[in-house]
């Protein structure tokens, strides 16, 4: 190292011009672009990351949807010949993996990344660079997963990938390796993200916002983050063991070497059941925001909705074995898990009743966002009730692994989670882009999706009870006319659903081409995120207004008339904004963008490729990760004004202390 040891240079005491040292010595400049592709690639802004999460997740949604359509085409008629058995097995594996890990989870992340800081009055998340790392790991994990298509075949073991069918003997292609490593990579993204959001929510709320004054979406997301923190390590360990078995010949799940195959099932479902709540709770949060706004009433029983969400978060850990009722647990285990599964219906039911009570006595405006929310109540209720029928273990012995289950969880996940996501799109689109999505197309979108969901998944209840087994690459006339006819209806329904989604895409394109037409407060909303411009400025809020009640924005707009007791409007959104701007903070701290999250994240899939194909490649990946980490640690905490081109004045960009 070129260290020159010599006594410190004596200072010149004469008043010399002060030289401001550049901190971004050479390589360690921080990126400063605020426009163009660089501003997206190196951003640490939670809003840009949220949008990128959303775009990537939606692309994966379309991919997963096309896979679903192929599956439905194959099953439209008996003995379908569109797909081979191998291709079919690969497609149902990738369809489920994509929808769960690459669509619904990151779409939840899109919403909570964008709206949690806005809802709690923060200027960014607690660890902005880790937030960026999470997004890039998710994206690279997803791309890595689909890389298997070109490098030896997609995984063919089902999204649950039961041992020993996941072993190298029974699935000799590299598909399962790609699957296991990709999910470990996206797992890192979920884990870092969840810690980030927990710290953000617990520490960075606006003054006066106690936990019981947090917006309900923030609450549900907080529960989800705790579920992630505890669930992701379990699946990561299981996947790590599986990778070890397939790559290095270990025998954790190798039945031929004496392993108990049920070990994998327990590990998978201890993760897998909380995962269901990870998928659904953000949507519950979204509709819990939307229903009050369009009923023009506060959420009925806010504390009960909060506590039922938390109760789901706790009870969700005690029900995993209901996925294994037929797998040969003893009767005592089956009985216990049967009972716990029934009782987890209670907090879920409480939520549904509270949503209805919120509408009751209100003045309901049927915007598309509201329609999707009501749709969620109805469709999720169907899914929830069919869920109760499988909680009855003996009944489940007949139904498990039939299409009755497929119908159940699609009602829960499509009718529940996805409807909530679409409700969120329509509700928050003007906030994110300053443009209102077209309501007329929105209605078409909604009704086609409702029709599609019921046409696709309702017949599956029947074909399942008529004995149609899951994960079969063909249906056969021998299964009887109910199975064949219901499958044809389901296929037609799937295409109706696809048209519904297509109309949403058309709506997005049309809106993007249109003018910025959204007023400041298009819905007469109630919560904090609407107390800023649309789209929000980079620093979110000019000043952070203190919080006095759950529906802070509403209470700033409306007040009770002391004489008549009537509630009337006292301020407009514009007036509230103007007041905020007048009190704007002088010096706003914001994190600078960084090169290193994407660099570090890019090394991780290289390690994965190395594990599968050649160990030296893994070392190269490891070196990239290591250098990325040291670049991360050594880069200056602040971008110099001279780093900007032209040199920037005004509020400095400063990194929060860590992250």
């Amino acid at each position: 190292m070129a260290i020159v040891e010599k006594p410190p240079t004596p200072l010149e005491l004469a008043p010399a011009p002060v030289v401001v040292p550049r901190q971004a010595f050479g390589l360690y400049k921080r990126p400063v672009s605020t426009t163009g592709w660089k501003s997206w690639l190196f951003t640490v802004d939670h809003k840009k990351l949220g949008i990128m999460y959303g775009v990537a997740a939606f692309v994966f949604f379309i991919i997963g949807g096309i896979e679903a359509l192929l599956i439905r085409l194959q099953l439209a008629r008996p003995n379908g010949t569109i797909l081979s058995a191998q291709t079919y097995n690969e497609l149902f594996t990738t369809h489920a993996t994509t929808m769960v890990f690459l669509f619904v989870m990151p779409m939840g992340a899109a919403f909570w990344n964008y709206f949690i800081p806005l809802q709690i009055g923060a200027r960014d998340v607690a660890f902005p660079r880790i937030n960026a790392l999470g997004f890039w790991l998710f994206l690279f994990g997803g791309l890595f997963f689909y890389l298997s298509l070109f490098l030896g075949g997609l995984p063919d073991c089902g999204w649950f990938c039961y041992a020993p069918n996941s072993g190298a003997v029974f699935s000799p292609t590299n598909g399962v390796d790609f699957w296991a490593i990709a999910l470990q990579i996206t797992g890192i993204a979920s884990l870092t993200g969840s810690i980030n959001i927990i710290v953000t929510v617990l520490n960075m709320r606006a003054p006066g916002m106690t936990l019981m004054k947090m917006p309900i979406f923030t609450w549900m997301v907080l529960v989800v983050q705790f579920l992630l923190v505890f669930a992701i390590p379990v699946i990561s360990v299981a996947l790590f063991l599986l990778t070890f078995q397939r790559v290095f010949g270990a025998t954790f799940f190798d039945a031929a070497a004496g392993a108990d195959p049920l070990l994998w099932q327990h590990l998978f479902w201890i993760f897998g059941h909380p995962e269901v709540y990870i998928l659904i709770l953000p949507s519950f949060g979204i509709v819990s925001e939307i229903l009050p706004v369009f009923s023009r009433k506060p959420l009925f029983g806010y504390p009960f909705v909060v506590f039922s969400g938390a109760a789901i978060g706790f009870m969700g850990w005690g029900v995993w074995a209901h996925h294994m009722f037929a797998s040969g647990l003893g009767p005592v285990s089956v009985a216990v898990f049967s009972a716990t599964t029934m009782f987890i219906a209670v907090p879920t039911g409480v939520k549904i009743i509270n949503w209805i009570a919120t509408m009751w006595g209100g003045k309901i405006r049927f915007t598309t966002a509201m329609l999707f929310s009501i749709g969620l109540i109805v469709e999720f209720t169907i899914g929830g009730l069919s869920g109760v029928t499988h909680a009855i273990a003996p009944s489940d012995w007949q139904q498990t692994d039939t299409y009755h289950i497929v119908a159940h969880f699609h009602y829960v996940l499509f009718g529940g989670a996805v409807f909530g996501i679409f409700a969120g799109f329509y509700y928050w689109w003007p906030k994110m882009f300053g443009r209102l999505l077209d309501e007329k197309l929105g209605k078409w979108n909604f009704w086609l999706m409702v029709l599609g969901v019921n046409l696709t998944f309702a017949p599956m209840h029947i074909s399942g009870l008529a004995g149609q087994s899951r994960r079969n690459y063909i249906i056969d006339d021998v299964q009887g006319p109910w199975v064949t006819s219901m499958n044809l209806i389901a296929t037609i329904g799937a295409f109706v659903l696809a048209v519904g989604v297509l109309i949403f895409i058309i709506n997005v394109v049309k809106t993007a081409r249109g003018p910025r037409n959204a007023p400041l407060d298009p819905w007469d909303a109630r919560t904090y995120e609407w107390m800023t411009t649309s789209p929000p400025k980079e620093h979110n809020f000019d000043s952070i207004p203190p919080v006095h009640s759950i529906d802070e924005f509403f209470h700033r707009k409306y007040a009770e008339d002391h004489d008549t007791g009537e509630i009337r409007k006292v301020a407009t959104a514009e007036e509230i904004m103007a007041e905020q701007e007048a009190n704007a903070d002088k010096h706003i701290h914001l994190p600078s963008p960084s090169y290193w999250p994407i660099v570090l994240a890019s090394g991780v899939p290289v390690i994965g490729l190395g594990l599968i194909f050649s160990v030296p490649l893994a070392i190269v990946g490891g070196v990239i990760v290591l250098l990325g980490a040291y670049g991360w640690a050594l880069e200056p905490s602040v971008a110099d004004d001279t780093d900007f081109d032209p040199p920037a004045g005004g509020p400095s960009k400063e990194l929060s202390t860590v992250g």
């Binding site: 058995a85 037929a326 509408m359 309901i364 009855i392 273990a393 489940d396 008529a466 004995g467 021998v478």
Partner: protein
């Protein structure tokens, strides 16, 4: 379309579903709501009213939603509705109400769980062994004085009607699940584990079953039959199953036996099959039994025993008919079944195609893997003449 319309659609779908289910008769051989055995009946007795309660709760919820959206729609009046934040007493009530309802469902459920896992002791049990992609059944014990020891069959499990038979499920490779919906729910067949289960049929008859745990490429082609016979027929069947195969007298069949011993007996057992072996030192020729060694050829280490092939109705994981429809639809077939049917009954077309190229008839990973083993039956490259000879031999295996 109004909200009322949408709910009408949803409601109609559910109502239609219930009606259809009630109407789901024998046209659906795998119907879960058409019990034909005591265990399935118990499940059905439990589940129909759970479905009913769920349906009623659903209808109530939809009705309330319908009333809410109709009654409380915005009618353009600008005043805010009353800002109600909640009603704690009401909340407690509707937390407790579903809990009580569910507790009511839980009590009979838990009783049924223990009831259905209890086993009877009729003096024999059947070990159900899954492998990619067919089922094997092994019998132990005796029934009505007739020993069942050593009976090994595949594709069709044969039981005496009215007897609740204890089953033990296991697997030789991956996890499968044995399910005959008309008789009982399903139970996974897990390697290294034996899971207790039961099967009982009220009346004699053939009940279709299906593998329900994803088990690889041909999961859709792994089916099962549970055939219930009258007690007399069952005893006759067992007697026949315990006999070794007789050496055929017909010269063509005898030639076929040679082909079988050379090509098929590496994996498939035919009890009583012998081969002339010449001692290399003494030159003495003796008849030696032919022992199949599927453990050296197959990942699962087993192939179906063909000793009594013609006493079955299906082959290849129960996906192809072994007999012509004209033969199985004959009322006399029930009497002929226990002791095997004559050769002219054979569904020659499918059987010959199968022998010609099995992987084309049923997807299997039928090429050698790294351990030099197959999964499923490979294409043997038999000549047409060999196939004819083999068929002539196979039809003698009653």
């Amino acid at each position: 379309m109004s909200n009322r319309g949408r709910r009408a659609v949803a409601g109609a779908a559910i109502a239609a579903g219930l009606v259809l289910l009630a109407g789901c008769g024998d046209s659906s051989p795998l119907d879960t709501w058409n019990p034909k055995g005591v265990d399935a009946q118990k499940i059905h007795d439990l589940q129909w009213w759970v479905f009913a309660i769920a349906g009623i709760v659903g209808i109530v919820v939809f009705a309330v939603v319908a009333v809410a959206v109709v009654k409380f729609r915005d009618r353009g009046d600008d005043r805010l509705p009353k800002q109600v934040h909640g009603a704690p007493k009401l909340e407690v009530a509707w937390t407790i109400a579903p809990a009580v309802l569910l507790a009511g469902i839980a009590v009979p459920t838990l009783a049924a769980v223990f009831d259905l896992t209890k086993q009877d002791d009729p003096g024999f049990e059947i070990t159900v062994i899954g492998q990619q992609w067919w089922w094997e059944y092994q019998y132990r014990g005796s029934y009505n004085g007739q020993s069942l020891d050593g009976i090994v069959t595949s594709g069709e499990m044969v039981i005496p009607a009215g007897v609740r038979v204890p089953l033990r499920t296991t697997s030789r490779d991956v996890i499968h699940s044995w399910w005959v919906p008309a008789l009982n729910g399903k139970r996974d067949a897990v390697p290294n584990r034996f899971h207790d289960w039961n099967i009982q049929a009220f009346e004699p008859g053939d009940h279709l079953g299906w593998c329900t745990e994803f088990c690889g490429l041909s999961h859709a082609n792994m089916r099962a039959h549970a055939v219930a016979l009258t007690p007399e027929n069952f005893v006759a069947w067992a007697k026949n199953q315990q006999k070794p195969a007789a050496k055929p007298t017909d010269p063509t069949a005898l030639q076929g036996m040679g082909v079988f011993a050379a090509q098929c007996a590496r994996c498939h057992t035919v009890k009583g099959l012998t081969q002339t072996v010449k001692d290399p030192t003494t030159g003495v020729e003796t008849e030696q039994p032919v022992i199949a060694a599927p453990d050296q050829q197959l990942v699962s280490g087993a192939a179906p025993s063909l000793t009594h092939l013609m006493s079955r109705t299906s082959f290849a994981g129960a996906i192809y008919d072994l007999k012509k429809p004209g033969c199985t639809n004959d009322p006399a077939y029930d009497q002929a079944y226990p002791t095997g049917t004559a050769g002219n009954c054979l569904n020659r077309a499918d059987m010959e195609s199968w022998l010609r190229n099995a992987p084309e008839m049923k997807p299997m990973y039928a090429q050698l893997n790294d351990d030099k083993k197959y999964r499923g039956m490979p294409a043997l490259g038999l000549s047409e003449q060999q196939i004819d000879l083999l068929v002539a031999y196979l039809v003698t295996l009653k």
